[in-house]
Point group: C2
Chain length 329, copies 2
Amino acid sequence: MPTIKDVARDSGLGVGTISRYLNNKPVTTENRLKIAQSIKKLGYERNELARGLKTNRSFVIGVLIPDLTDIFATMLVQTIEQIAYNHGYNTITCDSRGNDALEREKIRLLVRRDVDGLIVFPSNDSAANEAYGKLDIPLVLINTNITDSLYDTIRSDDFEAGKQAGNNFYKHGHRRVAIITQMRNRPGYLRAQGFFSEFGPSHDPSLLYDGEFSIDDGYTAMKAIMESENRPTGVFTTNYYTTIGALRYCREAHIEFPEDISFIGFDNIGAIPILGPPITIIEQPIVDIGKQAVSLLLQQIEHPDISTRTPIEMLLKTRLVIAESVKTI
Amino acid sequence: MPTIKDVARDSGLGVGTISRYLNNKPVTTENRLKIAQSIKKLGYERNELARGLKTNRSFVIGVLIPDLTDIFATMLVQTIEQIAYNHGYNTITCDSRGNDALEREKIRLLVRRDVDGLIVFPSNDSAANEAYGKLDIPLVLINTNITDSLYDTIRSDDFEAGKQAGNNFYKHGHRRVAIITQMRNRPGYLRAQGFFSEFGPSHDPSLLYDGEFSIDDGYTAMKAIMESENRPTGVFTTNYYTTIGALRYCREAHIEFPEDISFIGFDNIGAIPILGPPITIIEQPIVDIGKQAVSLLLQQIEHPDISTRTPIEMLLKTRLVIAESVKTI
DNA sequence: TTAACAAGTGGAAACGTTTCAACTATAAAG
DNA sequence: CTTTATAGTTGAAACGTTTCCACTTGTTAA
């Protein structure tokens, strides 16, 4: 591979000049031409490693997600990737497999490869939170479990999302509605809180189905609900996978909305709008989340002094998309 | 950040010794201890950039896919990531948005960041093929369009996959079956060839629905088929998205399998096994594709002399998963 | 005509590693 | 007790950039 020195020799100029050219600093047109010519002739390409070594800047941002096949996460990454790219940054994505230790390791990998900043979509495991404590690198957390993060944080307004669903049920006359969620996950917890808040100060604990955010748990919970003694008049699922799981059970058991039960789901993405029955559903502003995450990160990267700033927690409103899966009672 | 020199100073040893320690070369136990202590004390972490600059090795492999939200691609990446990791390599993933120019740019990005090898899942656009011509870096292509690649290539046995579907229809008595595919995509083309081969030497061209591998085109084609004059007795879709699209139309139009028409789909992943009706479907061996891709790549990386070897094209068999969506006539 | 200045240029030093030739200490062999 | 082999250590050089200071032009003002 040709180096900057080869270009210098070939064009008869000094390495400093070549470097200026490469960094868009002023160079006489005459030399500009010579250099361009030599570069083409030799097929020179800048070695980003050497550059990063010297400048401590890589123009790469790292994105860490718990699961590369999680549709919500990958949609997010996709918008992050695109926006970052428009700002001159490239993105590299790693999968932590929802594993605490692996998440920490991947973060080090990225840091050691000199990423300029990190956007982390943390695994559910709350223990992971410590990991960030030591890092001093621009960092933005998305949908984190942490309550008082030292870092900028961005998430959907989960409490409000829960309220939107609860309110829709309530105003259609529902008073006993079950919710399928994951209480040890902060968004899951907040969605539940918001939901119940619409039904008054106290609520029947048997309406809360607490488990993992997984297809299986959605399925099982939905089944339990349909088979329960004092069956509620509606069900609210609080993430993509529980929604999928619940819908699957309903398909298998030939349960129709809203005839057999009313239903509000979560995350109008992936297969749901396509293969699922038309349902009323909460939509997260994925594109905006991505946009704001990049924006906050770039602020940190480009104004390092800002790090003394107090951390920002940014809430983005969700949207209730109305279909016909909630019956008026 | 502390450097190797700081560690040397702190431990009273030479930088060379620290380097040996870090690279697991023999060091006296006495020194080993001192070094370990200094490293912990200073919080030293190796700078991979500087290392890569010197060694030309990064132990990172780059993966390029056309769409980060494409479930087939991300499942592949996930297994690649895992297997590579077990071999001591990390993975970074980039999205080319199915865009030829962007694909080329991302490849350069990765090369310039010194990845040890590349696994590329090419965009449909055949023009992209040139891009690889110049590269001399270990490279494996997955499901490529190129017929006589200079690089190792790995893909499902698409012709055989088509035959499996065609044969299943044929032996259930079907003689006029439509196929939805993308002929300018090589896998799509081969799947069609294999499919038709089961029905004899010639075929009715009106049974071929040629478009993009997209949900929309799957939907439109399925609609056209159902509304056609001389309606075929079955339909074969040849990738995930066309399958989804076709299923969507069928849901909306209340078409049931196999009563209204027989159906075989492709790629038993994502939402299909969960939300879709139970259908006979072709399954690609995703895990094996990932495994073999990494294996071929590591061969190239670790035996550079091998590059004189003639390129390998590896075919992996698909599997026909049988449900009840094909009627016996 | 000269002084002052601006705009570019050249090349050595530095970034944090690994490598390698020279060196030291220890052990084994005679 | 010397010689020879062995194992480990040392620090300078190199990897390909950017940065910075000293330098050369060319231009303007007096």
